[in-house]
Amino acid sequence: MPEITYREAVRDGLSQLMRRDERIFIMGEDIAEMGGSMGVTQGMLAEFGPERVRNTPISEIAIVGAGIGAAMQGMLPIVEIMYEDFLTISMEQIVNQAAKHRTMSGGQLKVPLTIRTQGGAGWSPGAQHAQQLESWFVHVPGLKVVFASTPEDVRGLLWSSVYDPNPVLFFEHRTLYPIKGEVPDQLAPIPLGTARVHREGSDVTVVATGRLVHESLQAAEEAEKDGISVEVVDPRTLSPLDTESIVASVRKTTRCVTAHEAVVQGGFGAELAAVVQHGAFDWLDAPVERVGAKFAPLPFAPVMEEYAIPHAADVLEAIRRTVARA
């Protein structure tokens, strides 16, 4: 199995899709000559040309909206919103348009649109280039929400997202682009709505997304030294959610910690906690602990940023709290 970076995995997924299927094209800001602000689409202009690798104006409403219209007319567009903070500008198109055409038309329309975006802190981008807004979209019927944390997952989930007949918000994490991981020789699609157990354990389940999957795995190593056995589960798809796997894991371990980089209040961890308390109430030995960013717009200075966002140590602390309750 070759080892590639998360960035290369996205690029490889996009390229394999586009080689195979003329309906697929990508558009977004600075994705052509520059290869995207994160370098994900580097080299793709040379291979696929400007018709299928389209630089757009700085127009997030039109980028998403044009993707919706092309998707309704039989194309499979992949649009890129450079930073997920900028999704706010295209919110109307995503929430009122993409998500609702199918229902409003009584099933006449499909919107097979993939909206790739990225975000995340850890490099002092300040308050408008690092938010984690994935939970907003989980609240909207008609949308699917994917958040991949490894090279293998990001490639396999991208494939399934592009071929899903619904609009998919596809979240990548900025700080994961350089991480390396093994991927199968042949691209293997990963069905949406399937969680991945990264590490098996028997005392506590940590349900984590994005960067916090890696932080949680680190925390699990540390906990192991204290004799605490931690299971780490990544839902990978936030909507639809693989509730079965999550509930099964918590029934086994009897304790649960949720972990994401987004702020705790109203975050995806709240949904996970609700799912877990309902599905595993009689099994739980401690309240569900939530780990996430502190409730503040992200400050610039590295010491403040470091303080505001969660790390392995925060996950470890939460693990210890749940164990201490028993």
């Binding site: 409403i61 039109a62 909206g65 038309s105 009584g106 007949p165």
Partner: protein
């Protein structure tokens, strides 16, 4: 006849009398339909709320008459006229007003979300300006595949204040996409007059297109033949790969923003005067020289069709409550060999 930028176009002698007569019948059908839904709404029979386009029928009918079957439109919250003009039977539109399975959106849409995808109606949008970007995207698909089709968003002057409008105009012009932007320029944004919502005079709306160096044509929106002629030329222009066209149709809304709007903001005498001098149906009747007898026969036919649609809708099928969840997600896969 050649369209000249900056010149408001009127027309006669473009269409054969028979074709014009059909458009007269269609406008009349739409008028009677809208009067009927107003009546049934006031009688408490229709759920939700409604916006009628009484006074603006010539824009809908002239534009849609000039389109080919594969062309697509995107409509607004004031959608009945566009939908009927694009060919959806009155029965299906009326059934949608009643929330019935037989409705053109299966009861899922209502007055503000009329769809008929098979007939090229990609949907009526209830967010002002919100439907425009998708029409640009539809045009992008046509251009990428080399299909001689055109995407036609309808919108009002109020929508030209939205970011969605400007981003759509900008992208369509930048990529030279086959879009005809049809401005139904009635001078009102709901209850707010042009003077309070536009930095331009109603007569100067071409500046919206000039900002993007887009071809713009002005047309008398009360003259269905002129609208037809302008749209036909606009279609030829955009399908020929010469970039999008901004078609500015000056028109008049004879009613309130919504059914039941007391219009406290508007001079009643002015509305009455407009109805007497600018009614597109009366103007066409005069051009056709219809006899009273002829006009009455056409009116009776339109009225009967609308009455029949009400009876069908009243007797239509209610969706099962749990159908609410039926279309949230599409099933299957978009793989080339997928379901």
């Amino acid at each position: 006849m050649t369209q000249v930028e900056g010149e408001r176009r009127s027309a006669s002698g473009v269409l054969a009398p028979e074709r014009l007569r059909e458009l007269y019948a269609q406008m009349l059908l739409i008028r009677r339909f809208e009067e009927k839904v107003e009546e049934r709404f006031r009688a408490g029979e229709l759920p939700g709320f409604l916006h009628v386009a009484i006074g603006q029928e010539a824009v809908a009918c002239g534009v849609c008459a000039a389109l080919e079957p594969d062309d697509v439109i995107g409509s607004t919250h004031r959608a009945h006229a566009h939908t009927i003009a694009k060919g959806t039977p009155v029965d299906a539109v009326m059934a949608e007003m009643y929330g019935k399975v037989e409705g053109c959106s299966g009861g899922f849409g209502g007055s503000m979300h009329l769809y008929d995808v098979a007939r090229g109606n990609l949907g009526a949008n209830a967010v002002v300006g919100g439907g425009l970007p998708a029409m640009v995207g539809a045009a992008l698909a046509f251009k990428m595949r080399g299909e001689p089709r055109v995407a036609v968003p309808f919108f009002g002057d109020g929508a030209t204040n939205t970011g969605a409008f400007h981003e759509s105009m900008n992208l369509a012009q930048l990529w030279q996409l086959p879009v005809v932007f049809v401005l139904e320029n009635n001078g009102w944004a709901e209850s707010t007059p042009a003077a309070q919502q536009l930095p331009l005079a109603v007569e100067d709306m071409e500046h919206r297109a000039l900002a993007y160096d887009m071809t713009h044509w002005e047309v008398d929106g009360q003259d269905v033949e002129a609208v037809y002629a302008a749209m036909r030329d606009a279609r030829e222009h955009v399908v020929g790969g010469r970039g999008p066209v901004f078609l500015n149709a000056r028109t008049f809304r004879f009613t309130g923003h919504y059914v039941g709007d007391p219009q406290v903001y508007r001079d009643k005498d002015e509305v009455r005067g407009l109805m007497e001098s600018h009614d597109p149906i009366e103007l066409l009747r005069a051009r056709l020289g219809l006899s009273d007898e002829d006009a009455e026969a056409l009116d009776a036919a339109a009225t009967a069709e609308v009455e029949a649609s009400v009876e069908l809708a009243q007797a239509g099928t209610d969706p099962a409550p749990e159908d609410a969840l039926k279309w949230v997600y599409a099933e299957g896969s978009m793989e080339p060999d997928g379901a």
